[in-house]
């Protein structure tokens, strides 16, 4: 069974979003997504200041098995990218909810996300 954390929200495309309470959000991929993709070998992240529209593919996570787009959950602006993933993309596997986060962004239009229990139901 994959882990779903109660402190954050989720998208249908298996990203998680954590409200940092200061107008910024942290985002990554869920445990279910990382398990499905397998060993991560490369993460392509946007630059600080990049803007993305809702549903844009704005990051790519690549495992040995496949490349997968990560989608913007709303119109947003990137405020930080997880540079540790350049050298240690495997953090996305070993710590998808903590050290393996992908980007921090700000947005004022975040809407329609699932809470943990709704997301967990989609995985059944």
């Amino acid at each position: 069974m994959s882990e779903v954390r109660d402190d954050r929200q989720y998208t249908e495309t298996h990203e998680w979003i954590l409200d940092n309470g200061d107008g910024t959000y942290t985002m990554g991929i869920s445990d279910h997504a990382q398990a499905l993709l397998g060993d991560m070998v490369y993460v392509e992240l946007p630059s600080v200041g990049d803007e993305a529209s809702a549903e844009d593919e704005f990051c790519v996570v690549e495992s040995v098995k496949a490349a997968s787009g990560v989608y913007a959950p709303a119109d947003l602006e990137v405020v930080e990218a997880n540079e540790a993933l350049d050298d240690e993309p495997e953090l996305v596997n070993s710590s998808c909810y903590d050290n393996g986060w992908l980007v921090k962004f700000k947005s004022d239009s975040l809407d329609g996300l699932m809470d943990a229990s709704a997301y967990a139901e989609t995985l059944d």
Binding site: G38, D39, V41, E62, V64, E90
Partner: protein, 358 residues
């Protein structure tokens, strides 16, 4: 879906099971990269029971194999000696690639791919009609490949009596011990054994190997290991429409005996005199990312295509085998997800016996 005798052992070991040509097989048991390193640095084992063993028996067994496959079994003179070959259709395309083992001129054993088994058996039977040979698929055999620098020592430790029979066995040779058939062959670029054994002994043997520290490895690691070793995969580097001459497998085609008119020979000779356009080369990506199957390649001589692409855990870079115009060299461009990325053209293998060669 079909299951090997080790299916339950895979489930018990946490194997992530996937559909592999109708067989439910382990892709990995957690991390395919760790399993890859395990084989390169120490020892791992693979369940390859889905592959098929076929025995050939009869007074015309040798004569038949001399027309069935493109390499010449006349090279096989000592018991247990192995030969890698392609089996061709009339047009010179590859029906399958295989290993044939010699017992004597009237007894041979062949190992063919899992995904092509039905097609191969039908093809072999259709070719065998006018020969005094019996074609006997051994569907009740399991096969375990134990691979890595410490593979032989661990097999000797786990399986009593094997060292007496296989201690001096040279690469690409096999020996029998009771109902076991043990070959010093593999698909990883490391030393090791491929052990054919009765279905009912498979789980016990697997557990004995685990007890001495041999870790189970899945099909994911098997693919990255064979790709680093520069070994062809049927369906990727070659198929029914690609000849060995275009797949860097010319070394497996023996044209020396003019009188040996094997199936596909006429087509290969015609192709040879006309000249082939493409061959298989290795690629090493210069930038970041992972090369994927079927991506387009442009070399100094024209267009090509990736036949097998992956990330090499040993090199920490993306590598590939690709079909490109013969004589291509230097750098090429690969059309990746969003942009073109440069790659260096190299001669495989990339890695053998733990060492990077490119």
């Amino acid at each position: 879906m079909k299951h090997t005798p080790l299916y339950q052992a895979h489930i018990d070991a946490g194997g992530k099971m996937v559909d592999f040509g109708g067989w439910e097989m382990p892709l990995n048991y957690g991390s395919q990269i760790e399993e890859h390193h395990q084989v390169r640095n120490d020892v791992g084992m693979f369940d390859v029971s889905h592959m098929t063993t076929v025995d050939f028996k009869g007074v015309e067994a040798k004569k038949f194999l001399q027309i069935l496959i493109a390499n010449d079994v006349d090279k096989l003179k000592t018991e247990g000696k192995a030969l890698y070959s392609c089996m061709l259709n009339e047009a010179g395309g590859v029906v399958d690639d295989l290993i044939v083992y010699y017992h004597d001129d009237e007894n041979y054993r062949m190992v063919i791919n899992a995904g092509t088994t039905e097609k191969d058996i039908a093809w072999i039977n259709s070719q065998a009609e006018n020969f005094d040979v019996s074609v006997e698929p051994k569907l009740d055999l399991a096969m375990i490949a134990v691979q890595g620098p410490n593979a032989r020592a661990k097999v000797f430790e786990a399986m009593p009596g094997v060292e007496d029979v296989c201690g001096e066995l040279k690469p690409f040779n096999a020996a029998s011990l009771g109902s076991l058939f043990i070959a010093r062959t593999g698909y990883t670029g490391e030393d090791g054994f491929e052990i054919m054994l009765p279905e009912k002994s498979a789980e016990f043997t697997w557990k004995m190997l685990m007890e001495v520290g041999v870790k189970p490895c899945g099909l994911g690691a098997r693919d990255t290991l064979r790709l680093e070793a520069g070994m062809s995969l049927y369906g990727s580097e070659m198929n029914d429409e690609v000849s060995p001459l275009e797949a860097a497998l010319t070394w497996t085609v023996d044209l020396s005996d003019e009188d040996r008119r094997f199936v596909g020979r006429d087509a290969l000779e015609a192709l040879k005199s006309k000249g082939t356009n493409n061959t298989i080369v290795g690629l090493v990506l210069e930038g970041k990312g992972v090369i994927r199957d079927h991506q387009k390649v442009v070399t100094n001589l024209g267009k090509g295509e990736v036949t097998s692409g992956t990330f090499s855990p040993t090199m920490g870079k993306a590598i590939a085998l690709a079909s490109v115009p013969k004589g291509s060299e230097g750098l090429c461009e690969i059309e990746m997800r969003k942009s073109n990325v440069s790659a260096k053209i190299v001669k495989p293998p990339f890695v053998r016996n733990g060492k990077v060669l490119v």
